[in-house]
Every structure is written in structure tokens, then in C-alpha cells.
Subunit: 432 residues, 2 copies
């Protein structure tokens, strides 16, 4: 059962060199409309997807990633009762964008359309200066269906944390344990809120998606992301699990290491400071103000606690509204939703030397600030990333926003970023 | 753990005489806004509600019945992207209705407002000739929050089944096993679709909510409504459970006996005939056409199968739209949503002698037709009922619709109907 959470590929998430060796299915062969997943009453055994097979075997994620609430308990993030902010459109650019070519790392000339196919995209939407130029769905997804964002969730939570800091409700330099005394004996002892935001707090915790002995498995089981094994004696909810994580070997603040549990601690901090659940905080502060088309939702553990690091599900268009709001320094749909200095803080980025500790060579020159990936490229692009190819890409210089939802067979961003980075650069050049 | 599903009251659901002996909490004392249920991060232990405590102890249902998706996996029933059909209102009737008096069975003169309080209402909406006269929420519910309908779900499913019969897609006189061969060795062998609709098919199955040894417990565990005990060896999904239910002692068609598993079989039949999940069928045929305000949702078992007999959750106003559509013979929001002959079929009712077998003395003169309760009173009122006080009441003679959602401490309708019947009669007389 433990195995069920992971892709069956021999991939250490940080080692891009291994990605090339993985046997990936032809994207055309794993279109959901021909897979017949979860069709029939009851579905035949090999088309049935349950909590135990939500993540694997492939191609189950092609269906389950846009039906996540059918496997987990969830809390609504309501769009509210206001009108929809209709995204304006500029017609006639689709073919140009789909046919755009760029050089892939393996030397191939690749079209943008091939990039989308080969990274198993479920939906992609591209905007420039607020107008939709390109919108495409695959794998049975459409504009009505929320799709799991995985760690793009972190960037939503990080934005809200930065907002509460700007308002003086949360002190970035406070010790985590000053806000959450329950973590006094944990690895977060001595770390500041800012170090949690930047993931430089040092804990004894590993996050390698392809390794079933990695600590991320313990987190997953505590959060209820997979059925627990018969003899399971570990934590069964997020609040019980976090205090059991011990101290790492480094000093806090020195090295960036990507750990979802930092965001779960951040979620705990925001709940305690705001008095709101993560779902309610997102809803009140952001989602009800975006003119969103559909309700979103957060996935929950057995105690009703949101997966603050992974559990947000929204439609592609609503994700685009959120991303456009960030591009516009928080001003969107006639309101200042997030303070301009909040977005500015994130854009500044963090220590690029500290970033190198994570060994993410597929993101050269990046830093990680307040749960966002900062490219430090000449256009000042910033990104939100989730496993299996989820992405927000914001290029302020070109006025470009791309959001993508996907179900790549490989969890790690090492599988998609080597294509996404040159693809985004080519797109920016086209639109410049 | 088994115990968790049932109220801790010594109540045989059919014995109204015992209801009076139950010690019920003062309704004022179990208002959620003072109960602090699920407040705090994490909530303190006695305010924490989980899957195991969703139903009990009281007052947990006061919170959990309008947060059901936070305990279970669920499938959306979308309102669609059409405009809202705004319910017209007639102002100035609230006080008159709240102050209306009637004689309770125990001889007390009771106001309509007291009736609502004493039956632990969470929300109630009254319409006459399509105009809202009265709308009230308690217990933290509001117009945005879906609330579990429990067995009112059955009436939605029954209406759709009757529609498919009217269209010739389903033969009411077909054997159940002709449609679902998987039930060949079950208690449904020899029963017709119509007998399932009227719950006169005879199976070896008891449904007494206050008896933990009743078969309804097995159904509940199979459907995933409660955590299974450690040594549980029974079915873990609805499709696996239904074929294990054996034949009863009577002939099919003779006696009405209320069993949720009949509706689960009906759900299976509709899925097979329509090729749609129950959620999709409700959405496509009804919910997307009502001009509903909010998405609804169906709760699911571990295989993603809807609880066709119990799992629909919608807002009070959207339930009112549905009820008004039925009152208007299927014509609502500018469309003929359900055929007039479908509603006519239901209104005709069924065999009142057969009804008596169920011993439901608290519904004198009633029959049960196609998953609806038919009063056979002079006004031709029909009803949909769910445990813990859920109700749709439609009085065609007076043009009256009342919908109520509630969290009564007692599951059986025996606890609410002795008050609801005279309350509805008094309301009808007021509006006549």
C-alpha cells in the first residue's frame, strides 16, 4: 500500500540526468477519452480508481487529478455570489503559439504544441496584458472542472502569509514556536517564520517522491493521501505528525531544502493568527474577490485540516485569474486584493547561494522566496510549481501569464522544467 | 465504533409512543454559534468532529450535517453556468407564520416558531404560488451552505427513475435482475423495478436506526458512512454489499417496508440504463436547469459510487427550487424539466393497505409511491422525508411548498412527523 503513492520509476527527484532514462508512455496513448477510466457501473477492475490507486499505476492520474474530491474529504473555497470577471480574449494567436519552435535540451527542435503534449498537459491558458491568447484542454478536463494544484497551493498560502506580515498580523522574524508552542520539541525550534516561508528552516525530513522510504511518505500517510498499511502505527493527521519531525543538521537560514511540511507549519501559523481555516482564509482574502467562475476546494486530513502544502483544487481559468492578479501587483477585478508590496517582496527573491543546497540544477540561478520560485531571469519571471507538471509562470516584462495543469507520469519538476524553461523563453520572445 | 452511527436513544423508529420518553436537549442550548464545534486549530478534543463522530454524540450533527463533504469523498452536482432563477418574495408574512398556532399531539397549543425550534430546524423556507413568504436559518447554516438531505435524496432519484420510465428508457415491469444480472442470487430476484420504486420488493433486511444490530448498520459500513471496526470483514462498497442481501419471507409486491437498499438498487439501475453516474444524471436532467444558486454534491463510497439513498447535499434555496418544480408538474425556470405525467404518477400514490405493513402509525393514511410519501389528504399533499427532520412538503391545493433541513437528535421521522403534520395543516389553512 505504501507503494501506491509513488510513481514506479527509478527517479531521484533532484537528478535530472535520470529523467531521460525513464520509459514514458506516448502521450497520445494516455488520453482519458480512450482510457475509459472509471466508466461503467461498476467500472471493470482495471478501470476502477480508488484512494489506493489515485496516484498509481499510470495512467490513473489522468483521471484522478481532476476528480480529487471523489477520493478525499474536502472543504469548499467559494467563489462567492458576485459576478464573474470575464477574461477578455484576443483571437487568432493559437496557431502561432502552438507552432512556435524552440530547442529542447536534447537538441531537438520542438514546437510549443509538442511541449504541451510531451509534458502531459491537462489544460493550459496563456494571457498577455490580461487577454487570453491560448486556452487548450486535454485528457477529459474542461473549463468547469477543478484540478489538483499540488504544490502550487504553497504559493497561494505563501502569498497570504506575506499579506498578513505586511498588515502586521504576523511577524516574519518571530520564532515559529512563539506562534505554535506545540512545536517546541520539534525541528522547528529556533527557526523563524521567515525561514519557514523560504524553506531554510532545517528539519530532519527528506522529500524524494520516488523513494518510498522518504519522509514525504510519512507526511502523505498522516495527511490521508493514501490508505495506511495494516500495521501502521504512525500519525493519522497533520497536527499529530508535525511535532514528531526532529531537528536537522544545519543551522536554520543557511540552506534551502524543499519540504512540504514547512508549508504545513505555515498553514498552522496562518490558522492560529487569522482564526480562519486555510480554505476560509483563501476564500475571504482572494477567491471570493477574483470574479471566479467556479468554487474551488481544499483537500482535508482525517481531522478536517487542509493540506496547506498540496490540497487546493481550482479550474484553469480561475487559476489564471489568480496569476493575473499577482502579475498586476494584487490589483484585479476592480479591487486591490493583495498589497503591492507583498508581490514586490516575493519578486525580490531570496539567497541564490542558499538555493543551491537543494541540488535543483534544473532551475539554474533560481531562489525560493515566500513559497514562490524566483527565476532571477532578465524578465523577472516568477513561478509556482506543483508535482506532475502544475505551473504558474508570470513574466512581468512581457505581461505574460501561463497557467498549466497536468498529469505527467513523473512527480518531480525535474521532468518538466528542462522543457518549460526554454518553452517559456521562446513564448516571451514571440510576445515581446 | 459501530455504535458511532446511531443516536444513543432507546428508540425503535416505528414506535412513536417511545419518542415522548426520550430526553431531548433544549434546542436553544444546542445552537452551533455557542457550541464552538470545530473551532480552533486544532479544535480541543471535545469540539473535534471526525468521521467516527459525524453522527454522534449530539450535538455534533448540528455542525456536521452542513459540512458533510468535510468527512466524505464527494462528487459535484453542478448548477451549471446559466443564470440564477431568483425566487420572488412576498414581504410581511414572517410574523404571521411564526406566530401561527396549532394543537400538538400532546394537547399543547404550539406556535409554528416553536415547532421549528423543537424539531431542531437548521433552515426552513416556505413558498406559496412561487413566492417566498418565510426563510429562516439556525445553527450556523446560511443560504450558501449545502446541507445533507439524507433520504430526501431518494425522492430525487425516484423522480428521475419515473422520468426514464415515461421516456421508455426503463421498463417499470422489468425484473430487477433483467437490468442488473449481478443481483440474480440476491433478495431482489423475482422483484420488478416498480416494486423497488415502491419498496414492496421483499428482502431480508431491517432498517431500525436506533438498533446497532440492524442491517442498516451493514449498509452504512459498506457505504463508508462510518469507520469500520478493526475486525471488520464485511463489504466495503455498495456494489459488493447489495448482492449479499437475501430474500425476505413475503411475496414481492405485498407489503411496503422502508429500506434504503432499495434505493441503492434503483441507483444502480439508473446508472446502468442511463450510462451516467447518479450525480451526473441529477445534474444533467434537473440541477443544471433549475437556475440553482450553488453547486450541490453527492457523497460517495470507497469505489466512487454515490449513496443514491442518502447522499445528496444542496442549499435550502436550491431544494426549494426543486420542490417548486415538482409542484408545477415539472415546469420551472422557463423549461419543462420533468414530464407532467411523471409528477401525476407520483401524486396518484400507491396501495395504502400495503403501506400499513411498515407500522408507521405516525403517517396515517399514507402510501409510498416511486420514493415519495403520499399523504392522500384532501389537499393532495406529497412529501420527501429524510432522517433527523429533513423534509419537502408540497400542497398543490394551496400552492404551498415547505422545505426544511434540520439536525434533530432522533433519526426516525417518528420524532418530527407528529408535529409536522398538524403544523403543515395549520399553515395550509392560514394560506388557503
Amino acid at each position: 500500500m505504501c507503494k501506491s503513492l509513488f510513481m514506479g520509476v527509478a527517479l531521484a527527484s533532484v537528478l535530472i540526468s535520470q529523467v531521460g532514462a525513464v520509459e514514458l508512455p506516448d502521450p497520445e496513448s494516455v488520453r482519458t477519452d480512450r482510457l475509459q477510466l472509471m466508466q461503467g457501473f461498476p467500472p471493470v477492475a482495471d478501470k476502477q480508481i480508488t484512494l489506493a490507486s489515485f496516484m498509481r499505476p499510470y495512467p490513473n492520474p489522468r483521471w484522478s487529478f481532476h476528480h480529487a474530491r471523489e477520493f478525499f474529504s474536502s472543504r469548499r473555497v467559494a467563489r462567492g455570489n458576485e459576478g464573474v470577471y470575464v477574461l477578455p480574449r484576443e483571437q487568432g494567436r493559437e496557431q502561432q503559439i502552438a507552432g512556435l519552435t524552440f530547442a529542447a535540451p536534447d537538441g531537438r527542435q520542438m514546437t510549443f504544441g509538442q511541449y504541451l503534449d510531451e509534458t502531459y498537459v491537462d489544460g493550459v491558458l496563456i494571457m498577455q496584458h490580461g487577454k487570453v491568447l491560448f486556452e487548450q484542454y486535454q485528457a477529459g478536463v474542461d473549463e468547469l472542472q477543478p484540478h489538483i494544484l499540488w504544490s502550487v497551493t504553497k504559493s497561494v498560502v505563501g502569498l497570504l502569509a506575506t499579506q498578513l506580515i505586511a498588515e502586521g498580523q504576523l511577524d516574519a522574524e518571530a520564532l515559529v514556536t512563539d506562534v505554535i508552542p506545540e512545536l517546541e520539541s520539534s525541528g522547528w525550534r529556533g527557526a523563524t517564520v521567515q525561514q519557514v516561508l523560504n524553506m531554510t528552516a532545517d528539519i530532519n525530513y527528506s522529500e524524494v517522491y520516488a523513494d518510498r522510504d522518504s519522509d514525504v511518505m510519512k507526511y502523505s500517510l498522516a495527511a490521508g493521501m493514501a490508505p495506511v498499511p495494516h500495521d501502521y502505527a504512525g500519525a493519522r493527521d497533520i497536527y499529530s505528525y508535525l511535532p514528531t519531525i526532529g531537528q536537522g543538521e544545519d543551522e536554520p537560514g543557511v540552506a534551502f531544502r524543499y519540504r512540504t511540511t514547512h508549508t504545513e507549519v505555515l498553514g498552522w501559523i496562518l490558522r492560529r493568527v487569522s482564526g480562519l481555516s486555510t480554505a476560509a482564509l483563501i476564500e475571504q482574502r482572494i477567491w471570493s474577490k477574483l470574479g471566479a467562475e467556479q468554487d474551488g476546494y481544499m483537500l482535508l486530513d482525517s481531522k478536517g485540516t487542509e493540506w496547506a502544502g498540496a490540497g487546493f483544487n481550482v479550474t484553469l481559468r480561475d487559476l489564471a485569474r489568480f496569476a493575473e492578479m499577482v502579475r498586476l501587483d494584487g490589483q484585479f477585478n476592480g479591487q486591490q486584493i493583495i498589497s503591492p508590496e507583498v508581490v514586490q517582496t516575493i519578486r525580490e527573491g531570496a539567497d541564490r547561494e542558499a538555493f543551491k543546497a537543494a541540488g535543483r540544477d534544473f532551475q539554474p540561478g533560481y531562489s525560493y522566496r515566500n513559497q514562490w520560485w524566483i527565476s532571477h531571469n532578465p524578465d523577472g519571471a516568477i513561478e509556482a510549481l506543483g508535482i506532475h507538471g502544475q505551473m504558474i509562470h508570470i513574466n512581468p516584462a512581457v505581461g505574460l501569464v501561463m497557467v498549466r495543469q497536468s498529469s505527467h507520469p513523473i512527480a518531480s519538476s525535474a521532468a518538466t522544467m528542462p522543457l518549460s524553461i526554454p518553452a517559456m523563453a521562446a513564448l516571451a520572445d514571440l510576445l515581446r
